[in-house]
Symmetry: none
Subunit: 368 residues, 2 copies
Amino acid sequence: MSGWMAAASSSWVAVDPSSHFSLHNLPYGIFSTAANPTPRPGVAIGDNVLDLSAVAQAGLFSGPVLSSSSQCFQQPTLNSFMSLGRPAWLEARHTVQRLLLHLPVGYHGRASSVVVSGTDVRRPWGQVQQAAGQAPAFLPSSQLDFELEMGCFIGTGNELGSAIPAAQAAHHIFGWVLANDWSARDIQRWEYVPLGPFNSKNFGTSISPWVVTPQALEPFARPAPPQHDPAPLPYLQQPQRSNYDVALEVAVQPAGGCAGETVVARSNLRTLYWTMPQMIAHHTAGGCNLRPGDMLATGTLSCEGPLGAGCLLEATWNGSRPVELSDGSKRTYLEDGDTVVMRGCCQGDGYRVGFGECRGTVLPARPL
Amino acid sequence: MSGWMAAASSSWVAVDPSSHFSLHNLPYGIFSTAANPTPRPGVAIGDNVLDLSAVAQAGLFSGPVLSSSSQCFQQPTLNSFMSLGRPAWLEARHTVQRLLLHLPVGYHGRASSVVVSGTDVRRPWGQVQQAAGQAPAFLPSSQLDFELEMGCFIGTGNELGSAIPAAQAAHHIFGWVLANDWSARDIQRWEYVPLGPFNSKNFGTSISPWVVTPQALEPFARPAPPQHDPAPLPYLQQPQRSNYDVALEVAVQPAGGCAGETVVARSNLRTLYWTMPQMIAHHTAGGCNLRPGDMLATGTLSCEGPLGAGCLLEATWNGSRPVELSDGSKRTYLEDGDTVVMRGCCQGDGYRVGFGECRGTVLPARPL
């Protein structure tokens, strides 16, 4: 049996360098969302907001001041938090910094539901909360999304109790594929604390059928994004960090009719913040063994630019700004019959090293 | 993955009434002997093992299913047998009972770091925050804990895109083991949002070596805790919810010296709120497929009472109230050299159906 995990890079809070709200800023505000219209405190990070009420509910304010005062984040204003004074403010800032940056956040996924390109993917049922404060209902997901990722197959593994150092981890990589980590956002939102995604992601992951080797990709290695602040802990330090220059795109094609594909995302593997060798080092740091055939995925590969969002959640601003397809129809999330096609390619001097495509069509949810 | 068992001679002897492996039990496992070191399936009876490969070679599996499929016992794992489904399992049990009076099967690892009882477990390194507001450090866990659980092996699975209804899920269960889901609380606290536990739990899970079947456990079925508020959603509703009355205990024994074990926890599988069929229904509700050999664990089995906490995190009130061992030493979390022993048993009228034990000793963290 082989397992796989997907590691979300820090791109879940990717921040444009021109943003006022860098990780050095972390300004406070009151916000609400369509899904949860209750006004509540948050911290702006790039174009995202970290929900402090959710952080508090998850018990993550564990310091001496806020562990007993975290109800200050279950308020429609900041006054209560403000009144706690500077020790609370510093503690909150440190907690937020802790949550956002220091480690490659990973989770374990299901090996059984990894399917090859061309396999249809059935819309999952799951528990969703239709409005804030309501009890959940068991329904077909209405927020089915793709995630543009790449997957890395482990060739040689390590013994249980040992670790793979970051500097040697590249030698354990057998090769790469495109990966679509299908995600049901409504199910995910309801279930993910405290144990992470489960039904929202375990119903299917599509991969491209040909494993492209590091030997073929080596000419396209480029320096990875710098990591200075914070500097990675020593076990995550890797000399000459690099990623491959793989141009990636995602197209959506509606069912039937003569409408062509519409490219809804363009990104590049180069943008990966934590390199795959760093993820391997992290996965094995505690002594967990990797085995031949294990697959690790990058997490959503988003980058800058108008089509830079690697999933619809980001592209549509959490469903608030639909994207338009070439037939004039609009999408916040995927509809039945939509085909999602991912492609990735390295452009050489007169030749290409590519991955073919990773394709999947959304089938309607099964009858109850 | 296969486990192994040292087996005594196969000569038939009466079973001690205190044995976990009475003729009512008939658990499956993988074993080998000095005379025949090939790992192969067997059934434990008292201190003996019935060699199923020999039974098959002798043509004694003569029922409608296994007469044409008995090569499933000429394997180093139980997967083949597991995948044949419940008719094969019942036929095997009846055949063994007819021959001697015996029964079913063995164990499988679900993930790379599932290890059999008796395997040492090395203290993991990981990212921990030593004080609120501080940057994390990469250190050996100082809050290593056990979790008293039971694991359930899936025999027959389901197709991707389908679901296993709660009312039918029990028929997919091949059998049960004790499970220690070792956990590093300091690593867990730092990493678990938003994607759940990762390094804090992936370094090792110990299980008892013999898979005890539902057929053996059925006499000990008892009503599960009621679920009224909230009522489970329809897909989680199961007629006649029950758990098995398995008395569980956890003992800790320090390294060296002559100190004996100290029982630090007593619980019971009866307290499980979501039954395993409900968990199976939930796992597959979105269409995720389960496969033969997959293991699902219960989560920490805590109950009421002074020793009812199924892990040190709860027993010591998050490290604030140490527990005392018989040698006078105290524990908030586990120390190097500590051996954790879990036992579980059903008490019948003059016989027992039990799980043997699930044992592991904590090794010091590896040198950096």
